[in-house]
Symmetry: C2
Subunit: 255 residues, 2 copies
C-alpha cells in the first residue's frame, strides 16, 4: 500500500528542480535498478511482489510492496516494470584531466535529447570510458528518460557538468581532442590514439564554434559511396558510437 503523499513525492521528481532540491533521482525496471543497487543503496524502493520475491536480499532504505496498479500510479514509464527506486544523486566527480594522457573521455556540447544522452552513457560504458563531461546546456543526466536509456550504465559512468571551453583549455599539452565536423578528414584514414577527449555536439547545430576551434583531430564519418546525395547527418549517439569504435579499434592495433 502506498500513500498519496508518497505518490505525490515521486511524481514531483519529474522536474529537475525538485530532483536537485531533494538530491535524488528515479530509476525503473529490474535491469536499471539492479545495476544501480550493485553500487548504490536506494533511499526508497517501490516494487511488486514478483520483484520482491527474487530481490528481497538486495533491498535498502524504505521498501514498499505494491500492486501493479499502484505501480502504474507512480511510474514514469508507459509500461511499468516491477520496480521503481529513488537513489541519491552522486556528488560531482572530481575532474582529473591528467587522466586523459592514458584514458579516453567524452565531452558533450549541448546534447538536448534525453534518449541520446542515455544511449551515449551506455556506449561509454561499453567502450570503457569512465567520464563524460557535459556543457551546462546538455540534458540532465537524472531525467528519467536518460536514466532508462542508459540501461543501467548510469551506475558505472561519471557524468559531470562543467564549462567545456575552460575544460579544453586546461587539458595537458598534446592531449588529442577529437571532434566530428563537416570539414573533417576521413576517420578511417586517421591515426587515432587510445586516449584523449571525444567532443560531440548538439543535435541540430553540431559542436559550437568556440569549442570546434579547439578540436585537434577534425574527423568525418564518410557516407557511402562518398559524395552521394543522402541524409545530412547521423544521429549524435550513432556518430559517438562509430567514433569511439574507431578509436578503440585503431588504438588497440597500435599497442
Amino acid at each position: 500500500m502506498i500513500s498519496k503523499a508518497k505518490i505525490k513525492y515521486i511524481r514531483s521528481l519529474e522536474l529537475k528542480k525538485n530532483r536537485k532540491a531533494e538530491g535524488v533521482f528515479v530509476a525503473e525496471g529490474p535491469k536499471v535498478v539492479g545495476d544501480l543497487l550493485a553500487t548504490t543503496p536506494a533511499k526508497l524502493i517501490i516494487a511488486t511482489s514478483s520483484w520482491m520475491q527474487s530481490n528481497h536480499a538486495k533491498t535498502t532504505g524504505e521498501v514498499i510492496e505494491v500492486t501493479e496498479e499502484e505501480l502504474r500510479k507512480v511510474s514514469f514509464l508507459q509500461h511499468p516494470q516491477q520496480v521503481l527506486a529513488v537513489f541519491p544523486q552522486t556528488p560531482p566527480h572530481v575532474i582529473c584531466l591528467s587522466d586523459l594522457d592514458t584514458q579516453l573521455a567524452i565531452a558533450l556540447d549541448g546534447v538536448q535529447d534525453p534518449g541520446n544522452l542515455g544511449t551515449i552513457i551506455r556506449i561509454a560504458d561499453w567502450f570503457g570510458i569512465e567520464n563524460i563531461y557535459c556543457s551546462q546546456d546538455t540534458a540532465d543526466v537524472y531525467n528519467s528518460k536518460v536514466v532508462q536509456a542508459t540501461m543501467g550504465s548510469i551506475a558505472r559512468v561519471h557524468v559531470v557538468y562543467t564549462n567545456l571551453a575552460e575544460l579544453v583549455d586546461n587539458l595537458p599539452e598534446g592531449t588529442p581532442v577529437y571532434g566530428t565536423l563537416l570539414d573533417g578528414e576521413d576517420i578511417y584514414q586517421q591515426e587515432l590514439v587510445n586516449h584523449g577527449l571525444v567532443i560531440m555536439g548538439n543535435e541540430g547545430n553540431g559542436i559550437s564554434q568556440e569549442i570546434a576551434a579547439k578540436v585537434t583531430h577534425r574527423l568525418l564519418i564518410p557516407n557511402y559511396p562518398k559524395g552521394r546525395s543522402t541524409t545530412d547527418s547521423l544521429n549524435v549517439a550513432i556518430a559517438t558510437a562509430i567514433t569511439c569504435s574507431e578509436i578503440r579499434r585503431n588504438g588497440n592495433r597500435n599497442i
Copy 2:
C-alpha cells in the same frame, strides 16, 4: 481553418490499421516533409503561414493553412514544427536478392522500438543501403515515431516486410550473411566484403534462433578493455551503425 472531420481523420492515423486501410502515413516538420516531397506528392498538407511562404511552390494535393494552435490539435509531436503532411504508402518494393552480390542490405528480426527502426533507416541511408527487410513482428515503418526518427531518410530507403527465414534461404549461394552474436568473432579482425545481408535482432532477445543458425559471419563488437564487466549489450541501432561502418571501411579498402 481546419475542419473537425479533418482533425479526426489525421488523429485516426495514429493506429496502424487505419493507416493501412487508408494507404497513407503522416510526416511532420520541414526536414522530413521536405525530403518526402522531393520524391512523393503529398495527399494533404497542413501548414502554418511561415512554412507556406517559403514552400508554396512545392505543395501538392489538398493544402490547408492553419495557425500554430490549430497545428497543435492535429500534430503527433510534443512541439509541432510548421507542417504536417499525409503521404501515400509506397507499394511494397520488389525483393531482388541477386542484388546482394554487389549491394549491402539490412534485415531486422523483430526490432520493436519505433525510435530504433527510424534511426536504423537513417543509418542505412548514410551508408548507401537501399533496402531493409523486416520480419512481420518488426515495428511499423509508418508509425509516426519511426517516420520522425528517420529525419527524412524514409524517402530514400525501401522497407519491406517479409518472412526472413525464407528470404535468407533464398539468397544466392555464397552471399555473406552478417550477424552480431554473443559468441561471434571480433568484428575488427574479420575480412568483411562490401555486399550481403546484415541481420540485426530484437532489443531484448537478439536474433532469433532460427535466423541465427543461417548467419555465415558471426560477429562480435568487442567491449573495451576486452572482458571487462560492463553493460550487457549495445542498443540495436548502435550495433547496426558500428557493423555497417566496419563493413564500409573494410570493403572500401578491398576495392
